[in-house]
Symmetry: C2
Subunit: 438 residues, 2 copies
Amino acid sequence: MAEPLGVGLVGCGTVGTGVARLLLEQPDRLARRAGRPLDLCRVAVRHPEKPREVALPPGVVTADPAAVIADPRVDVVVELIGGTTVARRVVLDALAAGKHVVTANKALLAEAGGEVFEAARAAGRTVCFEAAVAGGVPIIRALGESLAANQVTAIQGILNGTSNFILTSMAERGMSYPAALAEAQRLGYAEADPTLDVDGSDAAHKLAVLAQIAFGVSARPEQIERRGIDTLDAQDIRFAGELGYTIKLLAEAWTGESTTGGREVALHVAPVLLRRTDLLAQVRGAFNAISVHGDVVGETLYQGPGAGMMPTASSVVADLIDLAVGRAQATFAAARLWSREGKGFVVEPVERVRSRFYLRLTVADRPGVLADITRILADEGISISSVVQHEAGEGATEPVPLVILTHTAETGRFRAALRKMATLSAVSAPPVSYAMGD
Amino acid sequence: MAEPLGVGLVGCGTVGTGVARLLLEQPDRLARRAGRPLDLCRVAVRHPEKPREVALPPGVVTADPAAVIADPRVDVVVELIGGTTVARRVVLDALAAGKHVVTANKALLAEAGGEVFEAARAAGRTVCFEAAVAGGVPIIRALGESLAANQVTAIQGILNGTSNFILTSMAERGMSYPAALAEAQRLGYAEADPTLDVDGSDAAHKLAVLAQIAFGVSARPEQIERRGIDTLDAQDIRFAGELGYTIKLLAEAWTGESTTGGREVALHVAPVLLRRTDLLAQVRGAFNAISVHGDVVGETLYQGPGAGMMPTASSVVADLIDLAVGRAQATFAAARLWSREGKGFVVEPVERVRSRFYLRLTVADRPGVLADITRILADEGISISSVVQHEAGEGATEPVPLVILTHTAETGRFRAALRKMATLSAVSAPPVSYAMGD
């Protein structure tokens, strides 16, 4: 059997522990699949003295990432510390030292992908990142290899398991957002500070990575419109349910022709109403799923655990096997990700994207209100698909919810209509609206 | 840019036409993805004079597969004629002539995989076959590359789009099997002779291919128990629906410990009752989907178009790109498929597989019948989860259907119970039973 592939881990939290366990517990299996042993040589941790779930061999542990990078036995540095400061330094230093890099760090790729990939090309080394998006779901290989004959034209992804877990609890058990979040935290599906998960930032980072592969665009964070589930009202989930829809936090990309004849891609993260029969609507709990539309194959869908110790370790170790086999190097060279050439797409705001919309207004129950609202929509060329207004008690004076589903309309024109509605005296709270996935 | 990869097609039916179109219409895209041009050099067709949907360049068409193989510009022979006689000869001759092979031929792989792969290894050439299973769904790469850190422990797949289309019509529109088949034929989803699709043979061939990748076993056709949808009674779909289940034709593999301590895998193709909330139960029409359980990642699922001109072409051309990039060669060498070494699994009959069961009996409506039947089940250690017997009219003398769902039981013991029930005088038709997926 050929020379071992030396593996150095930087970071040994949840995912790192899973990777170490897999390397130590399945050496024969992995050597067979990789054509050579995968040797765990060094592991850098912040607190070497802390007891761990995995028994690391003596002499392997260090507190110094530089010791992992400098170890001549280490061929691949696996960066699992997260964040964009120390992690960026570790990755760049590893590449400069002639090591391949495997990372699960979507934030680093979204924010410094260009720098990291240029450094890798300059060093003649490879960066792998299957675990950075959707944990155990092999969406990176699907986009970059399996669908290579296609131009991707649309992506819809449930990329944040925490949000999907909370939404599932809200939809199936009628919980409020705060109650569902508290439960998710108690069960370990949400962190003490859940902000990046529930406000759409985590999904936006992952979407930026997918957009790089599919469209060759390096989307800056501010180019990805995002809206999380943290402002979602349980009554919108109920109304959606009555109408046959489920609300999911989706990361979406659509392509189109720009007005100047070029090709553009719009990216957003937002709660979206999906028809209950849609496959993505069926994805429950902490799972992730991605639907990809390619111009040759049509729609394909990938689903699985989006996070967790062993699912994410499965993807990290798949990357190590690919490096051992030589497949990763071929892919890296051919894909030219985060390079200057691009694929001819530019990122555009979502204003021109066409979609159906869900709109909930809180209105005074008096004559003429519906006429004013439907007139505003008509003026923007938006036609109505259905209206739900439950009967208020005779003589009731409280404002009532009015729910409207539109036919397909341009996002920009719908937003213009929203702004006009907000000025109506009969509309007593800011209009609430979501795009629909059909 | 590097030397072109010369492509020769043998067979230009539906899929071949799609491949030719893609190569001719998207040369720039494919060259970018492959790092070099993919040149369509020769195409062998049975009737060169026949008009075609795709305009092949002059001088490309020949009636002789040997001319494709012998052409020095051809680096890869794409075999798309199907069947196991001429196709086998073409593939072996191509390998002997030093060409790589891409094929969509599951029957050839299932029946002569060992011979083909040994020939490829002897010639130092690569065989790719993403399109052989589930058309545009990249299940071959998922099993062989993305999940390489896992031992697969179970597979459940909807692998025959024709059957799934017919089942969807039966379930959603209450059609009988003959009516649904006739419609599928009219719409082009079923062939004039649909036997191999509806009797489970096509799905069994595909399952044999997946079992080779996942378990290293070369399953002979007779080792895969198969039962198609052609004997399915509409009333079983109705009863399943009442109980919250959908019937799908599944190709399934389960692993277990054998009684001698080795590892075994059981394979079957059969209609199976899936809970309506199961993701596979939601797969409608001609789509394919595969759920794979890996011991590291847990469950991942892959879905998409299982057949058709462009979806299948998408997979064939992905293989061509992998060959151009060099990825396919690395995978082929590492995977050692259809080799003698195996992964330690042996194929076992499904008798020891544990499952829940749906059972429909046609019984005389008289005292003691249910007692006899439940006694037989109890004697085999099988407990009952639910019973449905609709009220017959008072004094009715017609036999009535009695539906029983069991808790988990060993297939062999359930079958023993079935044999005993068939001997009861009150049971007036052969018992009908299906496994349940939960």
